[in-house]
Subunit: 244 residues, 2 copies
């Protein structure tokens, strides 16, 4: 999606893309016991948004989401899950959109396709924070990580989209894929507990958590972590592969 | 939505409705230990489908779903939940759509809006089987209940939409609202267990189920069911109201 696309008349744009439909991606990383979200900043506007995408006429919805994710992160084949479709009739933020378009020197009329109503399908992606190369998008936007608890005011209903994505993660916190995508390959039980606590936003009881995780059958215990003090070192774990 | 709407040129239809977007409703009832689904039949075509709807330009997505549901069932203010959006690029079934349109004596060209690609938002509704008045829709369709395990072949990906809705219900089987919407006001523990077993498609252990339900805090025990044999009569329960 480049500046050229934006200059297209609405009919031409609708010819290439599914009209009135967008994708918003909540791209989540985990680093130093904080959840991080990838946020776009439109230069010279003080306006912030989630990374978004459009769906090509002959493209599967999931493929369009993977493509949007790849364009912003450089990553492929990662955990990506649709969680909710946002369709309030007043969710468009025409004023913000006009500011962004003007700051890009774009001529447009009031009926420009980008100013019309969009319904947006929300996807949540779990990525390895260190592997991501945040990449700028169209409309002179920069892309960077924000801590979940210090996200700037976002355009449209994007904060609600993030809130709903976090509720989705809470509902799926015991899903093996969730931990496997946010933690490094091997981790201590304490690392795993901290991840769960960060997602759930509450403290968990150590022994209860340990038992539940071992009962899940998803974890494989490896050797002790090398710390120089063997008798006090914690064990390392990894998620068992599917065939086990 | 009447025959007049169908005769509209695509541009006029897109002026009134959100283009390329539909709603499909999986309307679920429960009767004599069977889950029932409301299915539309297009007369003289042998074609079956889920009840569907379109979203007006200035209408919230949820409102459009409520409207579609009301039009087919005569019911308002019932459990209705969005569960997934279906967006495979090949999900349209042009051939079936053309048969349906022809059987309604409708003139159309290959570019008619109803033949274009639609992304569809799936909603599941839980209704009181006895209160529903199934009501015919547009395109000469009849609407009637089918047992979940004997649904005729459906057009498009509608069977997949039902399958996904049932998985959603399984994930939410412990949700108080689910039971409260599918059972009559008071019920025995056995009634509740049968409902859970029907949704989950598996037998549950009686004492384990009983304990789990009582631990949930959602149930209120009333008097014994009047059967004439007081010492063997089961207790009646109801779902406790939110304030309790």
């Amino acid at each position: 999606m480049g500046q050229q696309e934006l200059k297209k008349p609405t009919e031409d744009f609708w010819d290439k893309y599914q009209p009135g439909l967008a994708i918003d991606c909540v791209i989540v990383g985990y680093h130093e016991r904080e959840l991080k979200i990838l946020i776009m900043e439109y230069e010279n506007t003080d306006l912030y948004a989630l990374p978004a995408g459009f769906i090509e006429k002959n493209e599967d919805l999931d493929t369009a989401a993977s493509r949007a994710l790849y364009e912003r992160t450089g990553l492929k084949d990662i955990y990506l899950s649709q969680f909710h479709t946002f369709g309030k009739s007043d969710r468009n933020d025409t004023e913000a959109m006009e500011i962004i378009m003007r700051s890009n020197g774009l001529d447009f009329d009031k009926d420009h396709w980008l100013l019309r109503r969009f319904v947006s399908v929300g996807y949540v992606a779990l990525v390895d924070y260190k592997k991501v190369k945040p990449t700028a998008g169209f409309l002179s936007s920069q892309c960077s990580w924000c801590d979940l608890d210090s996200i700037p005011p976002l355009i449209q209903d994007h904060q609600k989209i993030i809130d709903k994505a976090i509720l989705y993660l809470r509902d799926h916190v015991d899903d093996k894929l969730l931990g496997a995508n946010l933690l490094v390959d091997t981790f201590t039980m304490k690392d795993l507990q901290k991840l769960h606590e960060t997602i759930l936003g509450e403290k968990l009881h150590r022994t209860g958590f340990h038992r539940k995780m071992m009962d899940s059958g998803h974890l494989e215990r490896l050797g002790k972590k090398k710390t120089g003090k063997a008798h006090r070192s914690p064990y390392l774990y990894r998620f068992s592969s599917d065939k086990e």
